[in-house]
């Protein structure tokens, strides 16, 4: 099961493709030749214990870290070979939700959400409605003038989601979006990720150590007519097929498992079963 260097995207267009990626710090190799791809509009759930390189994978995909070797292709561009000045422009196509939100603590919620639009030099009359729209999407319209320290942990993550999607990026990277949250708040965050996927059709790479987050993404979809989250039908609805969810499991810096939700759910592998508990 360990990473065999295979490249499973086949004929489909890949939004993110890693090929034999290696990275290490302090002479300790964290990622040891990781290869995988994420197709357009697909959600890949990256599972793994703490310290297995999930966050590193996301940061490499966003060009925040450069791998020691291997190639990283995102939206058709070789991110692993780009210089920082090109990466700065390129990263505007990617939304990144950090584990603790990483909101700018000296700015209000509105300023945080509008940050990227302000950087792009958008007109104020364009920024305000857009900020309101994304804050409405995460149901935090009332927090516009609040500062991050006045928000709860779950609210900070929701603002972080709003900030990540403000300029409608085709790819969103989520770093442990439900880590440290209570079950109800975790459910709210997952529902938002579902809505973001099904309403805007974003490609997502989601790092987590909670298998139930992955199953929720795989087994439910957001019904835009009913405006609520509904379970996928057994024969597979069009919405569910269009937004496929796959799992990647990291172990010791390598891909230990790669497959569909049913495969991981029915697996007898003792290591995978640890995530099912």
């Amino acid at each position: 099961m360990a990473g065999d260097g295979s490249f499973p995207c086949g004929e489909a267009r890949s939004a993110i493709a890693f090929e034999n990626v290696r990275i290490g710090f302090d002479e300790v190799e964290i990622l040891r030749g990781v290869s995988f791809c994420v197709r357009e509009r697909e959600t890949v759930v990256l599972l793994g214990e703490t310290g297995t390189g999930k966050t590193l994978t996301l940061k490499i995909a966003a060009g925040l870290l450069r791998p020691d070797s291997g190639t990283v292709d995102v939206l058709g561009q070789k991110v692993s070979e780009m210089v920082e000045s090109d990466l700065l422009a390129f990263r505007r196509k990617i939304g990144f939700m950090f584990q603790e939100g990483a909101l700018f603590d000296s700015m209000t919620v509105a300023e945080n959400v509008a940050y990227r639009l302000n950087e792009d030099g958008a007109a104020p009359e364009e920024i305000e409605p857009r900020v309101k729209e994304v804050l409405r999407f995460v149901e935090l319209e009332h927090t516009v003038d609040m500062i991050p320290s006045e928000l709860s942990g779950g609210m900070r993550r929701r603002v972080s989601i709003a900030r990540a999607l403000v300029n409608r990026p085709p790819i969103v990277l989520y770093d442990s979006p439900t880590a440290g949250l209570d079950p109800i708040t975790s459910q709210t965050i997952i529902t938002l990720i579902l809505r973001l996927r099904d309403v805007y059709g974003v490609t997502a790479l989601l790092a987590t150590h909670r298998l139930q987050d992955g199953f929720a993404l795989a087994n439910f979809h957001f019904d835009m007519h009913a405006e609520r989250v509904v379970a996928n039908s057994r024969n597979g609805s069009a919405a569910a097929i269009a937004t496929r969810t796959r799992f990647l499991v990291y172990r010791d810096g390598e891909i230990y498992f790669e497959g569909e939700p049913e495969e991981i759910a029915n697996s007898d592998d003792p290591y995978l079963k640890r995530f099912l508990v």
Partner: protein
């Protein structure tokens, strides 16, 4: 190993229990060289950012307010009393030769050439270099710097350049104010302690100064502003070890920038004395 603009290239050697003294020294040297390299690159980038867009004018104004207006009370208060002390000390010596009228000359030259820039640099470093290190360090450990990069902003442009520009503009102005208030304090002390007339003290203080003296003070304060901003930002952006690391970086920023200022002062004095005969 991974490299990004603000990633530290030092501190990456594996700690082995059986390392020999040679290996330990080798690692320490590598770390030091890497730190100098990172510091130089960050400073160079912060300076070259001034020549290209985008510019963060509001951030620069905010920093000018923090460095300039924020440091004003301690600079003025210190300047006044340092000027007074200088007059008391030098006056006590001149009394022995009956030359108390020379006090204004000496105090003025000392303040403009040396004490003004050096003490302004040290006080501002204590207040602002530590502030910059702790602010940027906190942003780094809470992933705000990464978030900035993820949203397409160059942190050296948004965070370092405004602080550097603000320090380059504000430290010379603070120095000028400190010298003025120092002479004011000296004037008060000379009137009450040495029974000199205020007009006489002020006239001699101003007459003693030449253009080269003013340039020496200006040049030093400019360099000290550069040192305190770049050291503060570098220590902040290379924090390791969470909140404890932020505390350590804050202390190091003050210590390193203060030592750099004192060391640079010696070389700048020599350079300025050389230039005063050639250019000014």
């Amino acid at each position: 190993m991974a490299d990004t603009p603000l990633q530290v290239t030092g501190n990456r050697t594996k700690q082995e229990e059986t390392a020999s003294i040679v290996e330990v020294l080798e690692r320490a040297t590598k770390r030091a060289v890497a730190a100098v390299q990172d510091y130089s690159l960050l400073s160079f980038r912060a300076l070259t950012n001034l020549a290209t867009a985008p510019h963060y004018f509001q951030d620069t104004l905010d920093q000018m307010d923090d460095v300039g207006v924020g440091s004003l009370p301690i600079i003025l208060l210190s300047g006044f009393f340092i000027g007074g002390v200088m007059v008391l000390q030098t006056g006590a010596q001149f009394v022995r030769f009956g030359q108390t009228s020379l006090t204004g000359d000496v105090v003025s030259l000392a303040l403009v050439r040396e004490l003004g820039p050096a003490i302004t640099g040290l006080l501002t470093a204590g207040r602002c270099s530590s502030g910059m290190a702790s602010e940027l360090g906190s942003m780094l450990v809470t992933e705000q710097v990464d978030a900035m990069r993820a949203m397409g902003t160059d942190p050296s442009r948004k965070l370092v350049t405004p602080r550097l520009l603000a320090s380059l503009l504000m430290v010379p102005l603070l120095t000028a104010l400190m010298v003025f208030v120092g002479l004011l304090g000296g004037c008060v002390a000379s009137v009450f302690s040495l029974q000199l007339s205020a007009v006489e003290f002020w006239r001699r203080s101003v007459d003693a100064l030449e253009f080269a003296d003013l340039m020496q003070g200006f040049m030093k304060s400019l360099v000290f502003g550069f040192i305190l901003a770049t050291v503060g930002c570098y220590k902040g952006l290379t924090v390791r070890g969470g909140t404890q690391g932020v505390g350590r970086a804050t202390t190091q920023a003050v210590v390193i920038s203060s030592v750099f200022i004192i060391v640079a002062d010696l070389f700048l004095t020599k350079l300025c004395l050389y230039l005063s005969n050639k250019i000014f």
